[in-house]
Amino acid sequence: MLEETGIPEAGKVEASLPSWERLEQGPVAIFECFTEIPCDPCYYSCPIEAIEEFHDINDLPELDFDRCTGCGQCIANCPGLAIFVLDYNYSKEEGVVRVPYEYTPLPEEGEIVQALNRAGEVVGEARVEKVQNAERQDRTAVVWLAVSKEQVLTVRNFKRMED
């Protein structure tokens, strides 16, 4: 299905997630990278080498979820913008999805936006909790979207209210 629509099927998405225990424990990176392409910058971007070293640059990335601290440095380093950090228990009511974002203008912290799923459909609202756009991110900003907990597994993008 991924090959026909650009949207990964449920099985692929599930396989990219850590266990529920790990998800509930704290922020963790997930890689929605499902096809073998020549690409390895993620391995070099992790400050604690939680990603397995590539034997072949076409390998799919393997993340050790227990080592991963959810720092998010990998997000801006993925050329495919396929890495997200999920923080299921950001607060009692909310989860946070940190998404790579390369559009302008960047949203304001506190702004309410429309939350989009992998098909670009509006699935609810999100609050922009934080916007990271440091120089070392080389113009790939990372936007923290506060969403309801169930939506942590579906929200992967956002758009402005007036769009």
Partner: protein, 374 residues
């Protein structure tokens, strides 16, 4: 008559990498002829982070890679990089003629590397000549090089990497992309590129093709329709869409005019984009003075072009410089990196194409054979 050790035609990623490698291994008289007023070729429009190996610019944006190459050239006076120098012909006695600042020059290089890139393919449909119908590369040029809005509502035809990437770049420029249509049943480009535009709300319609463009003086609308698995149009599935720009990302054709003039044996290899020169593993063509690298050797992408440029330069240098094993080791390393790049599933059609062209095995015939060729 000018003379030099190495002439490189084309200042894109392959040509630039070739020039720098040639200097690195010891050549001292290198001409780089670039027809445009800027160096970098297609790199200067690539705003996205590159894939490939970390050791080969992965994670760096194409535009920045171009800058890195240009910076390195500054310190190397042995490389004469002429911007606005248009190669006009490769003559029988291995003379390269080029025009530069309204004058014509004759250059006799010991070796020539052709790195002239590719041109965009066209699609046949009624009114395909209307203003507003552009190649995807053209849209990239307008947006990323000149900062011009190509249109307000775009239809992208082709879901290979170029179609998907340019659709994304259109979004980044604030332009609406109505849809990406793809004639086959699958998205040919990397899934991550497709996912990026799907989550931005751009539909990707597989098994769809363009029926016709509509408009008086410019594109005003397009009619798309469905195809079945046998490439036959499905009646009754026509859909009209109001667009002002149609972007064709339907493939590239290697630019090989100079190779043909240089008497290189050619072969038609569909996997590489069309007619390409037959060459050995070191990228030397059947004319021992001529090497080929980059998209003009076969449609691939920038990282491969860079590596091929280096390989061709090492090959050309090995013939010019006195005996030395250092170059052989260099070549082996470069070939390994190319193999790494091409090893995975997405490299399959390239590998197939390369096997055909190298051994001239199952490659289509040479359509340029002339009777006086020995």
């Amino acid at each position: 008559m000018q003379k030099c050790e190495l002439a490189i035609v084309g200042g894109g990623p392959a040509g630039l990498a070739a020039a720098l490698k040639a200097r690195e291994v010891g050549l001292e008289e290198i001409y780089l002829l670039e027809r445009d007023n800027f160096l970098g070729g297609q790199l200067v429009k690539q705003t996205h982070q590159f894939f490939g190996s970390h050791k080969q610019f992965a994670g760096i944006r194409g535009i920045d890679i171009a800058e890195k190459f240009k910076d390195k050239l500054e310190d190397r006076p042995e490389i004469k990089a002429l911007k606005g120098a248009v190669a006009q012909g490769y003559y029988e006695d291995d003379v390269l003629g080029y025009s530069y600042r309204d004058k014509f020059f004759k250059l006799k290089p010991e070796k020539t590397i052709l790195a002239t890139g590719a041109s965009e393919k066209m699609l046949s449909f009624p009114n395909n000549d209307l203003p507003g119908i552009y190649g995807a590369g053209a849209v990239q040029t307008l947006m990323n090089q000149y900062g011009i809005v190509p249109g307000e509502k775009i239809l992208m035809i082709g879901a290979g990497n170029i179609g998907l990437i340019v659709a994304y770049q259109l979004l980044q420029a604030g332009i609406e992309v109505k849809a990406v249509i793809e004639a086959t049943g699958r998205i040919g480009g990397y899934a991550v590129h497709a996912s990026k535009i799907r989550r931005a709300g751009i539909p990707i319609l597989t098994y769809h093709t363009i029926k016709e463009a509509r408009g008086n003086e410019e594109v005003e609308a397009v009619v798309i329709q469905q195809l079945d698995e046998d490439w036959q149009t499905v009646p009754g599935t026509e859909q009209e869409m109001a667009v002002d720009t149609i972007c064709l990302a339907v493939g590239l054709t290697p630019k090989v005019d100079l190779a043909i003039q240089a008497n290189c044996q050619m072969a038609y290899v569909a996997e590489l984009g069309g007619d390409v020169p037959v060459r050995d593993k070191n990228l030397q063509t059947s004319n021992p003075r001529v090497y080929i690298a980059g998209d003009s050797a076969g449609i691939e992408e920038a990282t491969a072009a860079i590596l091929e440029g280096e390989l061709a330069a090492a090959g050309a240098a090995a013939d010019i410089l006195p005996e030395g094993s250092a170059i052989d080791r260099e070549r082996a390393e470069i070939k390994e990196k190319l193999a790494d790049l091409r090893r995975g599933p997405v490299g399959e059609h390239i590998r197939r194409g390369l096997t055909r062209v190298r051994r001239n095995q199952n490659a289509g015939r040479d359509r340029y054979t002339r009777s006086w060729k020995s």
